[in-house]
């Protein structure tokens, strides 16, 4: 009997790895979705208030007498900012937060992969975030009379999905890195929030920053995703402001998705090992 056959024979019968992965994803996504139904206050704080915040950027363009397309550009940025906030606070920070609350050790004991838990976290978080983004996009369009002239729906959907995959891949990577951090993780998260709004061009076309800065900012997937979606939604205005072509941005987003998810997987294993070695998995209040 070979070693593999021997270990397979010793392994008790049970669900396959794939089944465990899928169950873990559902299991982790479930409390996020249910939690939203139990705590209705998120509708006010996570939907209405961000809509008002985005409106202030739109009205700023109104005050300057900018054409309507600029307001649409801001609305799209405001809608996508919901995903960045979700990635920062509910993905990147979550394992750190779980560590502080004592949940992390339970994740570590569970016979599943940490990637499955993070994927569940991402999918669960996406529900509320997508609602928030849709309300900003549609509510803003109705309030300000903004029209989206979509040049290609398939491309728009593809770019949107690619942006999210790459973005949540980045979230998983950050989450694994923050696993070994102390309170510094918190400060890094705060420090990443507003500068990314600026660097990724959430409220203005990123080309205004210049090629070098815009290229550097493209490490955050929303930089490319926003630019591509704006080209597809406001083609006339973006003729003068686009950074790269839609196809090039989609290809780069695909590459970023692969790189971030692979890096997250590698980093998660490495950081978990390091945390175990340093005895930091159960550490609290540091």
């Amino acid at each position: 009997m070979t070693t593999a056959e021997h270990s397979a024979a010793r392994r008790p019968k049970g669900p396959s790895k794939t089944v465990i992965f899928v169950r873990s994803v559902i299991g982790r996504a479930y409390p996020r979705v249910i939690g939203l139904q139990r705590e209705k206050s998120w509708m006010f704080f996570d939907i209405l208030l961000p809509l008002l915040a985005t409106m202030s950027y739109v009205l700023f363009y109104t005050a300057t007498g900018a054409p309507n397309d600029f307001k649409g550009l801001v609305l799209l940025g405001g809608a996508m900012s919901a995903f960045w906030m979700n990635v920062l606070w509910s993905m990147a920070m979550q394992l750190y937060w779980d560590k502080e609350q004592g949940n992390l050790q339970l994740y570590m004991l569970a016979p599943t992969s940490r990637m499955a838990i993070l994927t569940g976290m991402a999918l669960g978080g996406l529900v509320a975030t997508t609602v928030r983004a849709a309300v900003i996009l549609l509510g803003g369009a109705l309030l300000f009379g903004i029209e989206y002239s979509v040049t290609s729906w398939p491309w728009a959907i593809a770019v949107f999905l690619l942006s999210l995959v790459a973005l949540y891949g980045l979230g998983m990577l950050l989450s694994s890195i923050f696993l070994v951090y102390g309170r510094g993780a918190w400060q890094v998260t705060v420090a990443l929030q507003e500068p990314v709004f600026f660097g990724s061009g959430f409220y203005f076309p990123v080309r205004a920053l210049g090629t070098v800065a815009a290229s550097a900012a493209s490490l955050v997937p929303l930089t490319l995703g926003l630019d591509a979606m704006r080209q597809l939604l406001f083609p006339e205005m973006m003729q003068n402001f686009y950074f790269l072509s839609v196809k090039a941005e989609a290809a780069l987003l695909l590459a970023l998705s692969v790189v971030f998810i692979a890096a997250a997987r590698w980093s998660l294993n490495r950081m978990e090992r390091k945390s175990r070695q340093d005895g930091r998995l159960t550490e609290r209040g540091n």
């Binding site: 206050s41 998120w42 208030l49 915040a53 202030s56 700023f60 005050a63 402001f241």
Partner: protein, 286 residues
């Protein structure tokens, strides 16, 4: 009475000390100040680039929006820190219940937590304005600053924001932890109604009425008038130019008194309600 004052002072002092430690002792004080500058600076830069995309050169709205958005950082910091202190103490540190049963009141303790955050911003905000003067050509000169107005309006404004933060913190006692923080969401939404980014006359009439009912609108006007000589230029059409400096300060005094009384009453009610419903050690880690 004397004992009560001493106990209030102790709670404030302990809250401020703890707030300062949790806020800043993760790094060197100088790095902490630089870190505190990130948010106001990038906010100001966002609007600088929004204007640059539109007009290409200098814009008369730049000083208006830059001063507004940088000074507004105090609002965000205070609102966020006080609401977040509740969540942090309740869910991360698990010590809110101990504060609730301690002889000192929770009210001055939360004040202290907020004060610690403002302290750092008192350095970061002037430094950010200095960056604006040096690199973006902001027309602020030491010789033309209305120091009397500045020194009168600043503490009054901080007091008003603290009372609003206190109300928010009281509400947080009865709410779950959502993705980011409710303080941040509220601060972002108040952008719309306080004339931080654009004159309130840009708003629809119903929204302008709301803006006129919010004390922060008058505080921002005071701060602009104190720092920028052209803030009363009729061309800006702020809708507040008919009010004298004294009238603005009087409005702030009245607002501080009213909000102080309101925040005290709400805090007492919310604390009682949270105890009654067993929410002081609630964990919402979905």
């Amino acid at each position: 009475m004397r004992t009560r004052l001493a106990s209030t002072w102790t709670a404030f002092r302990v809250g401020a000390w703890l707030g300062w430690k949790t806020e800043s002792n993760w790094t060197h004080p100088l790095i902490y100040v630089l870190w505190s500058m990130i948010r106001p600076l990038t906010s100001g830069l966002i609007f600088y680039f929004m204007l640059r995309v539109l007009r290409g050169g200098a814009n008369p709205l730049l000083p208006y929006v830059f001063i507004g958005t940088v000074v507004y950082a105090l609002v965000g910091a205070l609102l966020n820190s006080m609401a977040w202190a509740v969540l942090e103490d309740r869910e991360r540190m698990g010590m809110l219940k101990f504060i609730a049963i301690a002889p000192a009141a929770m009210y001055p303790y939360l004040w202290g937590r907020g004060f610690a955050k403002v302290l750092a911003n008192f350095v970061a905000v002037p430094l950010t304005l200095l960056v604006g003067v040096l690199f973006l050509g902001l027309p602020i000169q030491l010789g033309t600053i209305d120091w009397a107005l500045l020194l009168g309006a600043l503490p009054l404004g901080v007091l008003v924001i603290t009372f609003i933060g206190q109300i928010l913190a009281s509400m947080t006692l009865m709410m779950a932890r959502h993705g980011g923080s409710i303080g941040e969401s509220l601060a972002a939404a108040l952008y719309l109604f306080t004339g931080a980014l654009f004159p309130i006359t840009v708003l629809p009439s119903w929204a302008e009425a709301i803006a006129r009912a919010i004390p922060l609108t008058y505080w921002l006007e005071c701060m602009r008038r104190a720092l920028w000589t052209a803030a009363r230029d009729p061309a800006l059409n702020t809708g507040l130019s008919q009010l004298s400096n004294a009238a603005l300060l009087l409005i702030l005094v009245g607002s501080a008194v009213a909000l102080g009384a309101l925040s005290f009453a709400i805090q007492r009610w919310a604390e009682h309600r949270a105890k009654e419903k067993g929410l002081l050690d609630m964990q919402t880690s979905y």
